[in-house]
Symmetry: C2
Subunit: 337 residues, 2 copies
């Protein structure tokens, strides 16, 4: 591998000039430029990223910290992040935090020492204080799905409350009368907001009772258990709105095992819009988040922040969309468009 000094020697100029040429900083004569171009060509020279990183404290690398890439929500997000990162010449480091603060912190330490340019948090553990600290140390951070931590970083999220209402309205529109909700762990903002949205949408209805809300764990297994409990408690429910798609899948499984017809007896609606919803039987109605767009946006924001072209930190709330499918299709249903 040729170095900048080799190029300088061959081109008959100093390394400073080469550097100036490479970074288009400062003046370089057109003729000199030609000589340099030729030398670079001849030596097949490629600037060394690590040396650049050391000298400039910029590595063109960002980190994506998420709970678990094998959770079906994240691959698409990661793909989006990587797509726009690579488009802008950045490389992505993948970190699985399992939502454990310790792991998250240890990753952050490692990443700082690597002169990472910025971090995307799609993990729920980090508290505002941590984010604050990062911000203070000059590491650009962008978060996904969390309340703005005192506006020290940008946040991308989607309209969970509205989404939950959309779901309930859709179910009502399809003729459902008693709609239960399986909510996710309340330490997750998303779960909380969806629960609030559900409550707001149903609390004024005559059948409403808090017993229609039941806790899940955002996973299939939790959806199954919650559904079993729910059906025992309220054999009369005719719709289940799950706080995420995995739990909705669980509901589907549980209902199937119980011999309950979906959507005939009970309609099921999920939230997230992961690919799985298209392969269940029946296909799952869901409130889809624009997952890819969220990833792309969060990545773009981070890069802007890194490159100093971001005006101000902001919270972006993306629209969700109800995707009606078989699991909520009721023969007597009339979609209220």
């Amino acid at each position: 591998m040729a170095t900048i000094r080799d190029v300088a020697k061959l081109a008959g100029v100093s390394v400073a000039t080469i550097s100036r040429y490479l970074n288009k900083s400062g003046y370089v004569n057109v003729e000199t430029e030609q000589k340099i171009k030729k030398a670079i060509e001849a030596l097949n020279y490629e600037p060394n990223t690590v040396a650049r990183g050391l000298a400039g404290k910029k590595t063109n690398t960002i980190a994506l910290i998420l709970p678990d890439i094998s959770n079906p929500f994240f691959p698409e997000l990661a793909r989006a992040v990587e797509d726009v990162a690579s488009m802008y010449g950045y490389t992505v480091i993948l970190c699985n935090s399992d939502d454990e603060g310790v792991k998250e912190k240890s990753y952050i330490e490692v990443l700082k020492k690597k002169y990472i340019d910025g971090i995307i948090f799609a993990s729920n553990t980090l508290d505002s204080a941590d984010v604050e600290q990062m911000a203070k140390k000059g590491i650009p951070v962008v978060c996904l799905d969390r309340v703005p931590p005192k506006q020290s970083c940008s946040v991308v999220r989607s309209k969970n409350r509205e989404g939950a209402k959309l779901a309930v309205e859709h179910l009502l529109g399809m003729g459902c009368r008693k709609i239960a909700h399986i909510y996710g762990p309340q330490e997750f903002i998303t779960a909380k907001e969806r629960l609030v949205g559900y409550e707001e949408a149903v609390k004024h209805l005559d059948w409403y009772s808090p017993t229609f809300m039941i806790q899940g764990d955002f996973r299939i297994e939790g959806g199954i258990r919650a559904t079993e409990l729910l059906m025992e408690r309220h054999p009369d429910v005719d719709a289940i709105f799950a706080g995420n798609d995995l739990m909705a899948v669980g509901a589907l499984k549980a209902l199937h095992r119980m011999g309950v017809q979906v959507p005939g007896q009970v309609a099921v609606c999920g939230f997230d819009g992961i690919g799985m919803t298209e392969i269940t039987q029946p296909e799952l109605t869901t409130v889809a988040q624009p997952i890819y767009e969220m990833g792309a946006l969060v990545s773009r924001i981070l890069i802007k922040k890194i490159e100093g072209t971001l005006e101000a930190d902001q919270t972006y709330e993306l629209d969700v969309a109800l995707v009606p499918r078989e699991s909520t299709l009721r023969r007597n249903g009339h979609e209220s468009s």
Copy 2:
């Protein structure tokens, strides 16, 4: 951030001694050691990874190049890779190649300039010549699912041919008489081997005809189309063995649309063992690859290779296991254990 020189000054020794202490290379007096420890503590010193990378050409970073992280096969693999990497103090860079040679090559260029320590290829585009070249340039490479490229790198794969036979035998054991196969793109070794396995297992049977083999694209859509074609061509098939789970899911969907009972009229078996197979209705029988283990192994091998503790390049063929589920359950079936 304190530097090694700050520590040296505070401890009253030279940077060389600090470096020796940090890397446990060369002698350091016990008392000196204590002084250094104290100084490091006091300054909260952490060696800078980038500087180390530049000086030592070792960055403790590996790259994982795969076709697409949003393809459900890869998240679990990526998780495994990252798990063992982080266990050994390595960081993982994620690259989506879309199986396009150009992208792959461009990633490799970027990665080389970053002094990446090694690469895991789970992508199918790279030819032996490329791998050879990498090997020559001293970049450790380990591949997934490909024929050993002239043994210039280690390869981890699973027993595709055996797996296909397992599938066919299982289907026969369940009483199926006419088993079709939807095979994947033949540029993928895995697809080819599974096809061969299928052929070997059925060619001696009286009903056998090449028309029972039909091409898919390793995706759901292709599975659907292939199944439609197949059922038109052979309305008498009673089992479909798909070259991967996604196509099996497609088959399930297509059959469901046609009103064909699964497993009643047609049994369906997939290959891979991705999570999706557990949420279809009926749940999908599949030949499961040990995906996590493959990722963990490939990662461990790469790290060994990087650290020079790998004796020799080798091909590891992992066992696959038939996971019988509803989609192949036939009332008159008698599992041949």
